[in-house]
Assembly symmetry: C2
Homo-oligomer: 333 residues x 2
DNA sequence: TAAAGGAATGTAAGTGCTTACATTCTCAGT
DNA sequence: ACTGAGAATGTAAGCACTTACATTCCTTTA
């Protein structure tokens, strides 16, 4: 069942059928309804390949994410997918893993599908210095389609970053801990992403602002699995009265460590997580966490994608939203 | 940069270039390497639309999921995506929501992309009776591409179901609670999916097996949000000494309820969740949960998809894997 | 050294659509 | 009734591939 069949059955030319299908104005009402009837009756769907061949696009946006088994990423993908669909775009999702090679390969795959835009979620960065060249593939990709990065930073033409101000959020969180009398802060992360670096920087700023010497032992690198974090802490047995983590899962590991050691939370140990996921509220005591505004960033991204695909060129290369501390029971403020 | 350019540059015909690109045997080594050099040098990638137009497929499988903000679904999608990519298939993901209309629309969208196979994850069912007609769209889809359903049941040609034996798992779990002296079981669910029905049936079987009268109040329908469940239970204040839920999030809501009421878990109240997600281990006390074998079902599905796409027709329409109770701290066994 | 036969390569006909341009229709204005 | 303009429709040329079939090129082998 192709456009020729429909044309024949409705007694018009394929051009007219095409016009009807694409909602062109230049068709008489009578013809339109006749063709539409036949189309419905025969259950005809245009062949996307042929359409794509003709016009070079498929009304599709690619979403590239390191993993979807992460609440933050899942939330973003979910929102992006939903809204893009509402606006008539289809999504191709790809989970790249965290390696550069994986990301490059998946980026290629997505580009080969002639997507109209490409969205990276998280974990991508080109900070100052050593890692810039690792993001060249993103600048390459941006030559073929506008690239949006949610919670990552890459500089380049046609590359748009939508960020949460993790540095400030973390500075303020650590500042609050210090202001409430905590002395030994432990910073826990599982990542070397742009966002993790910003958080680290924020923590250091707060420490320095309070005149506290910054020591290496205060910064721990772990997996993002609750029990792995707990066991790691048990094994090194650090002395600390407050912990901040770059993700809720890690923070809960610290809570579990405290419980294992018989420390009270938040009495002996304050804990602050990040991303305000459902884990935070599953935990007991419920976890104070920084909301990194996934939905807000995604909403902005969607608006921008639609604008740029509709020919609006005035999209800011970068925008930053403030994070938000959600106080629960693992802090005394 | 298209196949004609490459042909011209390498001094051969487009047919030969096509053969090289597709790894056909019928090309001399010399020609092959020459063409390959040019292709690499020019950075040529075949146009997927033109390829698709010619051969009618794009080496893509569609994945349809109600939502990805659910750990079970996310785990499945993650695994499917990863393995399919390893085997050279691309994935198109779509989140349909839970409504029939949403699912139908997304199914159409995916089919229009000429996918080689379609995978539904969860929430889909055609049980005995009233809901069969609602799955007609799946049988329609199966005429165009093999359909796999993970944790859902639909009968039809070219429809393959990969299930966890939720009924037995739930019967055994409730049986264990009864065997350990619990008398007032509360069953909590947020869904009317095939799998939720099976779990309900299993619970009823256990109750009947123990000669306990089955009362309506034992079966509660709630949202799947921890606080919503807790608040709901607080509002109706039911009397029970054990709860089983169709998802961990719901079960944790029951734990929170107990804590709010000053009940000890598992002393006064045993709780069993479902899906063994990371929430179970974030919870305190950690949640006993039934592992519904997402990865196993997905692995099987992948094997079957590959087999069927390679022409192997001997795929069983249905297969069932046993669930697995993971004992933690919300039960006394 | 020529004929045969298989390997390598080329030719051209699809594949289903979009769209610029050409043609035909319709009807208001004369 | 006749023009002419604008609306409606049709024609045909891409778009970038795959592949059946035709052709050419080597080897063998007698």
């Amino acid at each position: 069942m192709n456009i020729y069949d429909i044309a024949k059955l409705s007694g018009v030319s394929i051009a007219t059928v095409s016009r009807v299908v694409n909602g062109s104005e230049k068709v008489s009402e009578k013809t339109r309804s006749k063709v539409l009837d036949i189309i419905r009756q025969e259950g005809y769907t245009p062949n996307v390949f042929a359409q794509g061949l003709g016009i070079g696009t498929m009304h599709t946006v690619g979403i590239l994410v390191p993993t979807i088994s992460d609440q933050y990423m899942a939330k973003c993908v979910s929102y992006l997918e939903d809204q893009l669909t509402v606006h008539g775009y289809d999504c191709i999702l790809s989970c790249s893993g965290f390696s550069i090679e994986g990301k490059e390969a998946r980026t290629q795959m997505l580009l080969s599908k002639h997507i109209d835009a490409l969205v990276f979620v998280g974990s991508t960065y080109s900070g100052s210095g050593e890692s810039v060249e690792e993001t060249d593939y993103i600048r390459e990709a941006a030559k073929q389609a506008p690239v949006f990065i949610i919670n990552g930073y890459v500089k380049g033409d046609n590359v748009f970053c939508r960020l949460c101000d993790d540095r400030t959020a973390m500075r303020e969180a650590v500042g609050a801990l210090l202001a409430h009398g905590r002395k030994d802060i432990l910073f826990l992360t599982d990542s070397r992403s742009y966002s993790a670096r910003e958080k680290t920087a924020g923590c250091i700023e707060a420490l320095e602002g309070a005149g506290i010497p910054v020591r290496d032992e205060m910064f721990l690198h772990t997996e993002n699995r609750i029990h792995a974090v707990r066991d790691y802490l048990l094994s090194i047995n650090p002395v600390f009265d407050a912990a901040v983590a770059t993700d809720d899962g890690i923070a809960i590991g610290a809570v579990k460590f405290a419980q294992e050691k018989g420390l009270s939370v938040p009495g002996d140990l304050c804990v602050i997580g990040y991303n305000n996921s459902s884990l935070a509220v599953a935990c007991n005591p419920e976890l104070t966490s920084i909301d990194s505004r996934a939905e807000l960033l995604c909403r902005e991204t969607i608006d921008n994608i639609l604008a740029i695909l509709h020919g609006d060129a005035s999209i800011p290369a970068c925008s930053i939203q403030p994070g938000r501390l959600i106080s629960r029971k693992t802090t005394d403020f």
